[in-house]
């Protein structure tokens, strides 16, 4: 319990900064929406833009003049931002004891490394929940003026759930990377590379649907907002894949970290 509290406190500043950024970005974004909302001219303008470009920025498809459509486009950026937060948090929460050389203090206390991981995991999940919460609150309150209907609310709930799942995928990836790779600088870098690779794959897939099978390798494609909006659900197969990745990442952390030499 002590460790959880300490981790929460030590990560508080970063959480506040991220929360502030997310809230600000969402507010600015939704102010922009004012220009699109129920505006047929804007729809016409967007239709005139080249399809490939639209696809690269994943704004091909949804109707930008509706609340769901507009939020759909932003969704991939939510995934990326919160994914980055989670992957960095996951890798640093494990490796920082080595980075700050506090491992010689912390891990010579009468606790097992397994217990240390559990406490850190709890703290990290709480952090992710809070950031998803802030994102949801900011999005909900800035969408309120545009008369959100039942359909939007359902879409919104699913999107936020997906956001949290994506965070868990990257949290487990980050933690497992830090568990496997001894050197803290490398583990941080590899964690971010993984996320960037996943993002690049998702962009490439959008532009070329012949390589659709690559979808499985990028969490950014698991819960596409357009699919959620159209179907009113998260796709089961991707929920299962996500669960597998998350469980594998956490299990890997629990199996590998307690058995490896600390980098001191």
């Amino acid at each position: 319990m002590n460790i959880v509290l300490r981790e929460l406190r030590s990560n508080l500043k970063s959480l506040i900064i991220w929360s502030g950024c997310m809230a600000t970005l969402i507010l600015i974004m939704m102010m922009e929406f004012e220009a699109y909302y129920d505006n047929p001219e804007m729809a016409g303008l967007l239709d005139a833009m080249p399809q490939a470009l639209m696809k690269a920025f994943s704004i091909a498809g949804p109707n930008l003049t509706t609340l769901i459509g507009f939020v759909s486009i932003a969704s991939v950026y939510f995934y990326i931002m919160l994914g980055i937060f989670a992957v960095l948090l996951g890798s640093s929460i494990i490796s920082k004891e080595e980075r700050d050389k506090t491992a010689e203090f912390f891990l010579t206390l009468p606790i097992s490394r397994t217990r240390a991981i559990s406490a850190k995991l709890i703290a990290a999940v709480i952090n992710c929940l809070l950031l998803t919460g802030v994102t949801a609150a900011a999005l909900y309150s800035s969408a309120a003026p545009y008369n959100p209907d039942q359909e939007f609310l359902r879409f919104f709930r699913l999107l936020m759930s997906a956001l949290f799942i994506i965070q868990m995928i990257f949290l487990s990836t980050g933690m497992c990377t830090a568990a496997v790779i001894k050197h803290y600088k490398k583990s941080g870098n590899y964690s971010v590379y993984t996320l960037l690779t996943a993002y690049i794959i998702s962009v490439v897939i959008s532009m070329d649907n012949k390589i659709d099978f690559l979808k499985y390798f990028t969490p950014f494609k698991y819960f596409e907002a357009q699919y959620i909006a159209a179907s009113g659900e998260l796709e089961l197969k991707y929920l299962i894949i996500s669960a597998v990745i998350i469980i594998a990442g956490f299990t890997g952390t629990y199996l590998i970290y307690p058995k490896r030499d600390l980098y001191i």
């Binding site: 010689e104 010579t108 009468p110 217990r115 058995k259 600390l262 001191i264």
Partner: protein, 290 residues
């Protein structure tokens, strides 16, 4: 029961040598010195028995239990002071100490304040604002606040001024007289000699000598430098003098034996200055263990 038993403990970092077949026991209740030059493997041995790193082969038991398998339980009774102390920079000293104390099953508050008092530690400051020496003091209090049965010290005196060193040695002696075993790693022979009953000497990862401190004292070499105008080196050709170098103005040599014999020779000559030093560990290695 032995406090620590090393069973052919070996650690390689990849291909790099850490320690090789370290095999000795530390008895309960003794102050055991572990000496060797930098890079000899002292910290490697300590980090292995603390479970920070894992042996390549061999094992070590602490109070009869395997140090890896029963790590958390064993560490309940270990106090560890690393050679360089690092704590969470943003924390206040008192919060850090209380945080640490919270992991032990007994109430450590009283001892915490006693030790902080002896070490004249300012509990309200933040870790990041502390000097190296003050961080070391935090380390001492943190390592000892739960009154551990086994105290492991890795080059504990660096960064402490002589007064604090003395206070620290007093605390260690006191803990020892109350029954704690002390495992004291250092590269300074003199401080080990002062406290310890037995020593192990480690060089390039291997234990080269395990000895009673009394025996070590009897073989005590002194490094001597005599300066004068017209020194006669042949006058110093007595038993126990070795490695004589220098000229008529300066003579360097090592001496082992009755110091009175040497002082008579020195007093028979006109000299300007004399320097009698403890040899460094490297010099001891060169002379004892050729």
């Amino acid at each position: 029961m032995h406090a620590i038993e090393f069973h052919k403990l070996t650690k390689y970092y990849g291909k790099a040598r850490g320690i090789i077949e370290v095999d000795f026991n530390v008895e309960e209740g003794e102050i055991f010195g572990f000496i060797g030059p930098n890079g000899a493997g002292k910290s490697t041995a300590i980090r292995t028995i603390l479970g920070l790193i894992f042996p390549t082969s061999g094992s070590a038991d602490i109070f009869g239990r395997d140090c890896i398998k029963y790590g958390p339980e064993i560490r309940e009774n270990i106090g560890y002071l690393p050679s360089e102390v690092f704590y969470y920079e943003k924390m206040k000293v008192i919060d850090l100490l209380k945080y640490s104390a919270g992991f032990y099953k007994k109430d450590c508050t009283k001892r915490l304040y006693e030790l902080a008092d002896i070490m004249e530690l300012d509990l309200k400051r933040r870790i990041e604002d502390l000097s190296y020496g003050n961080k070391k003091k935090v380390g001492i209090v943190q390592g000892l606040l739960h009154q551990p049965k086994l105290i492991i010290l890795d080059e504990p005196t660096s960064g402490l001024d002589p007064l604090m060193q003395q206070k620290f040695f007093d605390i260690i002696s006191e803990e020892n007289s109350k029954g704690s075993t002390v495992f004291f790693s250092s590269h300074i022979l003199a401080e080990v000699q002062e406290l310890c009953s037995r020593v192990a000497i480690i060089k390039e990862g291997k234990i080269i000598k395990l000895e009673d401190i009394k025996t070590l004292r009897q073989d005590n070499y002194k490094k001597i430098v005599v300066k004068g105008d017209n020194l006669d080196s042949s006058a110093y050709r007595i038993e126990g003098v070795s490695e004589m170098t220098g000229d008529t103005r300066t003579l360097n040599f090592f001496y082992r034996g009755d110091i009175n014999k040497l002082s008579r020779i020195i007093s028979s000559q006109k000299i300007e200055d004399i320097l009698i030093q403890e040899p460094t560990l490297e010099e001891i290695f060169m002379h004892y263990y050729k």
